[in-house]
Amino acid sequence: MIETPKPVASSERFLATIAVTDRGQMVWEHIEAWLARMGDRLNPILVKETRQAIKSRQFTLTFVLVLAAVWITTFAGIAIMGPSIYYSASGPGMFWAYYWILAFPLAVVVPYGAYRSLAAEREDNTYELLSISTLTPRQIIWGKLASAFVQLLVYLSAVAPCLAFTYLLRGMDILSIALLLAYTVLGSMGLSVIGLLLATATKERYGQVLLSVLFVLALFGVFIGAVQLAYFFIEEGYQILGDFEFWIVNLAILTAYGTTFGIVFLAATAQITFTSDNRSTPLRIAMLIQMACFIGWMAYACFYVVQESTRRGNRIAPVEEIVLTASIVCGVYWFIMGTMMTAESPVLSRRVQRGLPRSYLGRLFLTWFNPGPGTGYVFAIANLTSVILMGFIILTVVPSWYTISTFNAVSFDQIFYFHIIGIGYVTLYLGIGKYLISLIRHFAAVPIAAAVLLQAFLVALGCLVPLMIQITFYPPGYRGYSLLHASNLFWSLAEIVDRGTLPQEAYTLVLLIPSLALLVFFLNFRAIAREVRHERIELPARIVEEEAAMRPPAAPQPQSPWDNTG
């Protein structure tokens, strides 16, 4: 019998090939499983919108246009420069050209895309389907932002090789390129979150159209501004990159950016959160953090100015100007924030009442973070007062350490009067607005936008009525300040600090405005007290039951070695 020879070598090779293929397949399966697990962790909106974007014509078209633009720019640039490309620093010129191409999608397309993405959900009725899912409002806004970021990265990836190319052309350093790109990306994300807030602002179609037009115009403005700033930075930037102050200012800008981004993000989230949830406390905490950062930077600026003046041997450091500017910024800030907080509903939902602090101390300090117009009113005034007190502490303490005078253009009296009357105005106007809103609420709902308009109207009334009276009844040509303009907060406050000395009217104003403010505060006192009296309520039985079912009690553990026996 003839045995058929076995193809030993080839079968081994075959088996080895199978083993390798199996191993390869296993590795691939592992990678696939890992990717699937990672995909599960991603925001569902990001996954869905990325899938949509890949298939959409609009995205492909924009991407191809950007790519074509950078290619044409590259060829045209090289052609124009000719042989000089080998010996002259042509990097800045090319960078600026590429920056035009990059800035347009990042400053206009991406933020507007984010705005439209959420607005379209409302128009196409998909937003309701999304809102009744278990996605939280934060996840919805994060998802939209993440989609905008992915889009941004795609545009960046199209232009990035060309930007790197400008470094090779000389005249552009890596730090400048990185800094410009970082700010452009941050700016684009900042504009995107603003776009998302605007998309939540109104459900009405005409409102959306108006907002849409205004937003596009604003984005074009930002685009032009960004290109101009980039040009300035490319031309002059290298000179300031080595300055310590430049990086400190950058840090301050980033702090302002981060805290503002947080507030806008939380505001957008609050807009789409269901009505019984606490939409105010996270925003108030964010405001407080922003204010704390602001005070920190204000203090740093004062110290820095005093140190610099001491180092240079100056006897005077213009600290009072920093404090005054900071107070004006804070006054405007808390007046605007106060306007929005005083428009909140006075009804505290049962859901919010479940989370109220229990302890006396908790109630004392945390009540002002609770939603409500009364607590919002006190929160705004208390914060403004705290900032001003901080300013005074800085004004008095810092110079005493460095034996230097901090009063240059204005006196201590002027600053003192300015602040007392300033707090008075904020308390007075916010209080009147709050009281009027509470009266209107008996007949109609008052949205936040209407409350802001009402406050603006009140301030305008306070400024224009005395002016009209003066024009009508006073001799022609008389344009001087008098107590008739006591309700005009801008003119009154300007009068106090603009002149070299304290004006005569200031003595009356310092009694009149705080007295009126106290009067208005007491007018609102009952409503504030009503909000403060809210107490924590217990969880409903059904929730307790579900929580207990989700966390079953742990099995009893043996307390001694004998517990296990038997």
Binding site: A36, R37, D40, P44, I45, V47, K48, R51, Q52, K55, S56, D124, N125, T126, E128, L129, L130, S131, I132, S133, T134, L135, T136, F274, T275, S276, S349, R350, R351, P540, R542, I543, E545, E546
Partner: protein, 316 residues
């Protein structure tokens, strides 16, 4: 396997919803238990959709409250949403998305992960007979397919409560039968289903309980028979007599519980006011009076009749 809860899965307690001077919903209360299909019927603008939107946590009531599985829609909408599937009377679809991706997105949005999500999407496609259309872009689907897709989306996270607003609107008869079958199977699986429809015959076939709402007020709640009895509806009686029904006409006219008598040869049809027992009495009286009855039949009024009777015919 789910254990049946001790409380109703859907409960409306003295619900009111006003839009300015318009009172869309006025003092509406009812309950739906697990495994029950509740048909919500009423003319256009009666307050059905408003009530359903409140239950779906898309709107807040002016007064009163509603509960899903014992959780308030006002205070705990987050907990309600986990247990609820809402199918509105619009589609809500995305461009550049196919059937599978659409269901996958909502499965993710309801927090399903990994194999659980894949299985949920497969189940939803199986249930709604969309397996063969998995890769088809949703913009290219027919109305019936879209309706099935929306039902798939509504049930992808396996909610205990389903609220379906006009699920069969605009569908052809075949698609209606399919949707009706799906709803019946969902109820068999122990889900509480609240459904509104204008096609009353369909509701009558699948609903255990119906609620008739008009001008924001719930006029009647119960099974069709219960409402018929509550509202003392007339039942249609048909009698065939050997040799002609002429003489029966005179006899019937003497009775106060009989109206609308029609005679046609051997056949007499008339409306009878009373319950089933009184029908037995009527037949016995007829036979005792010597009428040669060869056929006696009664027919309950349809849901349309009940609806028209309860709403006094004021259908818009």
């Amino acid at each position: 396997m789910r254990t049946r809860p001790s409380h109703p899965l859907i409960e409306l307690r003295r619900l009111h919803r006003y839009f300015g001077d318009t009172k869309a919903v006025r003092d509406v209360s009812f309950e739906v238990d697990a495994g029950q299909v509740f048909g919500f019927i009423g003319p256009n603008g009666a307050g059905k959709t408003t009530s359903m939107r409140i239950l779906a946590t898309l709107d807040d009531p002016t007064a009163g409250d509603a509960f899903i599985d014992g959780f308030s829609v006002i205070d705990d909408p987050d907990r309600v949403r986990r247990r609820l599937g809402f199918m509105p009377d619009y589609f809500g679809t995305y461009p550049n998305v196919n059937v599978k991706e659409y269901l996958d997105f909502f499965a993710r949005a309801y927090g399903l992960r990994g194999r659980e999500r894949i299985a949920a999407v497969e189940h939803a496609m199986d249930f709604t007979l969309l397996n063969t259309l998995a890769e088809k872009p949703i913009n290219g689907l027919s109305k019936g397919m879209k309706q099935r897709l929306c039902l798939g989306r509504t049930m992808v996270h396996d909610p205990g409560v389903l609220i379906l607003d006009e699920p069969a609107a605009g569908l052809d008869p075949r698609a209606r039968i399919e949707v009706r079958g799906m709803i019946a199977r969902l109820a068999d699986a122990g889900k509480a289903v609240l459904i509104s429809s204008h096609i009353l015959t369909e509701l009558a076939e699948i609903c255990h309980v119906v609620g008739i709402i008009e001008q924001g007020q719930l006029l009647a709640v119960g099974s069709v028979d219960e409402i018929s009895q509550q509202s003392q509806l007339l039942r249609l009686v048909r009698v065939r007599l050997l040799g002609g029904a002429g003489s029966l006409g005179n006899w019937l006219e003497t009775r106060s519980d009989v109206h609308e008598i029609h005679l046609d040869g051997e056949l007499a049809t008339f409306s009878h006011h009373g319950d089933r027992e009184s029908e037995v009495v009527l037949l016995r009286d007829m036979v005792q009076a010597g009428f040669p009855v060869v056929e006696f039949g009664t027919k309950a009024k349809s849901l349309e009749d009940v609806f028209l009777h309860v709403t006094n015919g004021r259908v818009q």
